[in-house]
């Protein structure tokens, strides 16, 4: 048990080590981020000016769909699972994940699923072209034949997430070091525990809805067809019952990361730890009863409309508690602004802006004007890019010295931050304007009055994309050398992960530490 990794590629194929698996998850997700990003650049290039310039509408729709799917299921979710794999056992003083072999399996089926998904681009009739929300009947009766491969790819991704989540739950509940009571766990562990529950609860529902599609397409059932007594809107209810908790799956671990970083660089304990835990749980609970806010225009009865509006608005309260706690943590601290902190501060500001636009969307009557416009696109990119992506980036900078034993290049990190920060706002802020002015989403060409802001947004996208190359370069350099990191890495950082040497040994905590 005590020995290190085997040499060669077999190490990665056969490994049961949480650090190896975490590393693989992180690289996979980075690759998917680039792939999804390139698709976003195709979208932005086409939208650079009015008229169709480079792609046919059919292909544009495939790009939109694949971009959404790859970013959500390929980039953000695996990145968080990767961070959980690396950090959760170290944070709770466990020797590894609870079920190490299954851990390997959860990872390796992902590249298979995505290979299958991406291969649809080369199939007759093209890749899925019905949006990442794949509403029936566009995705059933009117879909290209590749939809079947899409369905099975989603099944595998679901299986991967469920196994990953079960593993995390078992690890956290069963493998904490003596003295590590639940209310002493770092918030990253807490947020992941709750996220894992969300995953276990909703991924099977996603599997259910794609199964219904499969049956409607190939076996003559009538789930989504009024002629047989079904209803296309049923699809949306089942999908969003999964889909809404899904967006919190992409943000709760982010809350955890930021709650680890801000106290470190403010040199002050996190304000309101227990209320953070309660707030996270409330968000998770509420996330199950708000799904139809994506469906305000489908013609729900007014009682439903009101219920989902009120419930959605309520989410602002626990989320607000979190924002206020972070700000108060900074208040009267002693702050420095290393790269992880810069990304975290940008997270707090820009995520809050995205939350505000979310709250506006939650007002049902106003959503009649916002729905399916670029205002929605602006909203969710503000919560996803400076939300999920920035938190992951912050986490990578924060823990990279622990993983590699080397410090990253701080100047390059700051350059990365500022280019990303500017690029992102230039890309996504104008989308609020074109959305309010009436530009629908998922269109390859648009009326002339939207031209200027689209041009700006496209420029920003290329800037933002290019700045990620700086990130990649910085990571590669850090892996290969650089200033040696101490065990503690950051002055005054709190947590068990900072008690082991950098780089963290292949096996940590074979004998559990005692937590006071």
């Amino acid at each position: 048990m005590a020995h290190g990794p085997q040499p060669g590629f077999k190490r990665w194929l056969y490994t049961t080590n949480h650090k190896d698996i975490g590393t693989m998850y992180l690289w996979f997700s980075f690759a998917m981020f680039f792939l999804g990003g390139i698709m976003a650049l195709v979208i932005r290039a086409e939208l650079f000016q009015p008229g169709l310039q480079i792609v046919e509408p059919e292909f544009f729709n495939q790009m939109t769909t694949m971009h959404g799917l790859i970013m959500v299921f390929g980039a953000v979710m695996p990145a968080f699972v990767g961070l959980a794999n690396w950090m959760v056992p170290m944070m709770i003083g466990a020797p590894d994940m609870a079920l190490p072999r299954m851990n390997n399996w959860s990872f390796w089926i992902l590249p298979f699923a995505f290979a299958m998904l991406v291969s649809t681009l080369f199939m007759e009739g093209g890749a899925p072209n019905f949006g990442w929300t794949f509403y029936a009947p566009l995705s059933t009766e009117y879909a290209p034949p590749s939809v079947t491969f899409f369905i099975f790819a989603v099944h595998i991704m679901g299986a991967s997430s469920i196994m990953g989540a079960i593993n995390i739950v078992a690890t956290i509940l069963n493998m904490r070091a003596p003295g590590m009571t639940l209310m002493k766990m770092p918030l990253f562990v807490w947020t992941w525990l709750i996220t894992a529950y969300l995953l276990i609860a909703v991924m099977p529902v996603l599997a259910g809805v794609v199964t219904m599609m499969l049956m409607d397409i190939h076996f003559g059932t009538s789930f989504f067809s009024a002629a047989g007594g079904g209803d296309p809107v049923l699809f949306q209810h089942v999908f969003w019952f999964f889909g809404h908790p899904e967006v919190y799956i992409m943000i709760l671990p982010a809350f955890g990361i930021v709650s680890a970083i801000i106290p470190t660089f403010a040199r002050k304990p996190l304000f309101g730890y227990s209320s953070m835990v309660y707030a996270t749980s409330s968000i998770a609970f509420l996330s199950f009863i708000v799904w139809a806010h994506h469906m305000f225009t489908v013609g729900m009865p007014i009682a439903g409309e009101l219920f989902f509006m009120y419930a959605t608005m309520l989410i602002a309260v626990p989320t607000g508690v979190k924002v206020f706690n972070w700000v108060t943590t900074m208040f009267r601290g002693s702050m420095t602004f290393e790269t992880p902190m810069l990304f975290s501060i940008a997270f707090v500001i820009l995520f809050t802006i995205g939350g505000f636009s979310g709250l506006m969307l939650a007002i049902a009557p106003a959503d009649f004007q916002y729905h399916d416009t670029y205002f929605v696109v602006a909203h969710f990119h503000y919560v996803l890019v400076p939300g999920a992506i920035f938190s992951i980036t912050a986490g990578v900078y924060y823990w990279l010295p622990k993983w590699t034993g080397n410090m990253y290049n701080e100047t390059m990190g700051k350059v990365h931050f500022w280019l990303s920060f500017i690029g992102l706002n230039v890309t996504f802020f104008p989308m609020h304007f074109v959305g309010l002015a009436g530009m629908p989403r998922r269109i390859p060409d648009y009326a002339l009055q939207f031209a200027d802001f689209n041009l700006i947004a496209s420029c920003g996208a290329f800037l933002f994309g290019a700045s990620q190359l700086v990130f990649l370069f910085n990571i590669l350099r850090t892996i290969n050398g650089g200033k040696k990191a101490t065990a503690e890495v950051w002055e005054d950082a709190d947590g068990l992960e900072w008690t082991v040497p950098s780089p963290a040994p292949y096996h940590t905590f074979a004998t559990p530490p005692v937590v006071k």
């Binding site: 299958m116 299986a159 739950v169 493998m175 529902v205 259910g208 049956m215 047989g228 209803d231």
Partner: protein, 296 residues
Amino acid sequence: MASESSYYVPEQSRLPIFATVGLGLTAYGAANWVNGNSSYLFMLGSIVLAGVLWAWFGQVIKENMAGLNSDQLKKSYVWGMGWFIFSEVMFFAAFFGALFYIRTFALPWLGGEGDKGSTNMLWQGFEATWPLMTTPDAAVNGDAAKIAGPNAIIDPWHLPLINTILLLASSVTVHFAHVFLKKDNRKAFNWWLFATIALGVAFLFFQVEEYLEAYQELGLTLESGIYGTTFFMLTGFHGAHVTLGTIMLLVMWCRSVFAGHFKKDDHFGFEAASWYWHFVDVVWVGLFIFVYVLGS
């Protein structure tokens, strides 16, 4: 919470990557197959997957018998199985939810009631009933309809009632098996477990009988509108789970009878299978009430 210092972390293992290949082939092959191509890849994948899982479970059993599994590690398996079953519950919930939505909202709207009653102008002559014997399509297009309703439906008080009794009984027998195992009465354990499996097989037999009747005599098929859709999807997935559960119990029985596995205080493999069985049973009770009784 951690107490012992030795949590067994397995060495490198080839199992997962082979299982990945198996699952990948199965999924890709299945998609290929339902798209109208050959089923070879699917078959190959399933065989690989089944073989790997066999080896995998074998490995876990071996480790347990070698005494590698601490109490703490065993708890990980317990949590794992528990939350796996919960995820299955959610899978069924999606289909029960669909049934509920159709009956409470969609059909009444199609039939002209409630908030979206003006929908009926598209389906004049259609009335919302459950079971849905005449689909909207059939109400409008008569014999030319592509999706017609069933001619009759399954009577809950015959086969389904028998099946309910069989499954409920099997939950009891599996419980007795457990009790005797804990008392270290191997013989009684084997018999009670055997009885459970027999009840499961009998259930499956009647289920097949019922499906044959539905298809051949009642015109009740997957394609007969939303009633057939929900009926077969719910009972079908349940039936698949019973099949899986029966196989699991059968494996446990073989392990006990032929290999002498399980101790009175160490038999999680069996316990997991029996939890699964209870879960399948509870789903059936839901089906019996919501699909059969309240659906006729």
